[in-house]
Amino acid sequence: MAVEETRTCHESLGLDEEDLLKIYRNMLLARRVDERSWILNRQGKAAFVISCQGQEGCQVGAAYNLRPGYDYVYPYYRDHGIVMTLGMTARDELLALLGKKEDPNSGGRQMPGHFSSRELNIVTASAPIGVQYPQAAGSALAFKMRGEDGVVLACGGEASTSEGDWHEAMNMAGIHDLPLIFLIQNNVYAISVPEPLQVAGSIAKRAEGYGFPGHQVDGNDVLAVYEVAREAVDRARRGEGPTLIEAKTYRMTAHSSDDDDRRYREREEIEGWRQKDPIVRFERYLMENGVMSEERKEEIGQQIKDEVAKASEYAENAPFADPEEAMERVYAEA
């Protein structure tokens, strides 16, 4: 592990200590909100949880390169780390978890993890896997047509590459050199289906066939992801075209609160990956590089704990939308 930790040196990436602590906070916040969600689920308060645990490195590392509210983002349901890096709060997340009226994504209409924010240019996400990719290509094309330097980040799990939509968007991105970054978080499983039954060959390698670069990166090394995403974002902003990033990671929880992963994977495998927990790894990096002390860590941990507790209390007490609100906003008015 020591190798990964020292390989990427934050100074060489142009990140200062403040950046690093922000990245750390975002990762930890995502984790703690996620953990809180499971507690609310066990308490019978949250009908459904879908986790980011284990993937915070991929998410925060990539999103930290974006300009919130300028670039367009098509996150997938695990991207709690992305949307919080862009500006969503613990409160927003827990309001969504509980389906409350104030849920900024959908007012309680959609499941948790179906992100949306007009202010943050997070384009409303849905459940059907893969549909975001052609849409992301369109948003990238709009930037290109107007000559703007906005970029688009489109995310999904490894299984999302199995849908035709992914390929159609890859092809379009390659044809028009679109400012589009595909971030594939390969967490080994699609619910129960393991990678060998899902992906032929290599996701990262496929980019070449479309005429643009593809990178495989250790998704549990937040700075490695940051680095490759920065290169991709810079390239896109310069008008040089798309990049595909395949971040190798692992889903540390069951697929969702409806899933029982003991049916299809061994406990030892999960334990093995716990050793590579991106947050633990980054903590060690910060400590070894003198960026964070044990005290500071405690302090940040406590702040986040408080933030999440307050957010949870707020969300639990927040009202639902009235039943009849279901009838509203079917059509937009001119």
Partner: protein, 328 residues
Amino acid sequence: MTEKNLLQAIHDGLAEEMRSDDTVMVMGEDVGRAGGVFRVTQGLQEEFGPFRVMDTPLAESLIVGSAIGLSVNGMRPVAEIQFADFIPPAFDQIVSEAARFYYRSNGAWNVPITIRAPYGVVPGGALYHSQSVEAYFCNTPGLKVVAPTFPADAKAMIKSAIRDPNPVLFLEHKRTYRLIKEDVPDDDFEVPLSKARVHREGTDLTVVSYGLTLYTALQLAQKISDEEGIETEVVEPRTLYPLDRETILDSVKKTGKILVISEANLTGSVAGEIASIVAHEAFEWLDGPVMRLGAPDIPAAAFAKPMMDFFVPSAEKIESAMLELARY
């Protein structure tokens, strides 16, 4: 006879067909080791191996498309779409391809596949795990669309679907999976894919329904019989396409009134087709308006429970529609 719920009945139907015919196979997302997200295929991979019970990539067009290709090369695949909400990527393969092989090849190539898809509102399911998609498919000649509600029918009809030489879309209401239990015959009985079922005879009005709303309507038919002496004839189409028009028309000709209930968005639903057949062909027998009840015309059920409950045609709404029509 053994008491079974809908899940078990379908599971057993699949298992029996796989045992008696080597060419029958199951394919879809998570159908293998996990046994399906609803556990319909549980244990099948252990018994039949990783090919006959195959976890496919996450690609619905591929699932149905490759099922077609398997079927024309000697297999009888049962393809699972994990949630009916995710059937749109397979739309082309179903309506343009599977449904038309036989016709377009002038009878040379037929496509004996079954496509299973769990549908209907379920708590927490929200916009994309709740939809009733049947209307998308009930105007596609060459395709059969079935939606049995009760376990015994479901077991028999999954067998009929597998044995049918045509593509069959087999819809299962998720909320009835564990809710409805009944004795299911152990022997190999078949229910044809062409006959509606009259659950209850009556003289005052006809209710046509399927899925969860059928289950509710049956209870209410008993209730308004007990409480008000109103006798409702309850008809379940079982096969939604092509429809058993005769059974429906015979019933309406007897009662003079019809209420069609489904959980789908009202406008454009299969209920409209049934209503319009009646309005055309049983006009002379009608003693009241041809009524329909469905979900409101909004995209689908919301995640938040109050909005979700608002979406589903409730027992109250169903009862008052039945009473309104009976008293007309």
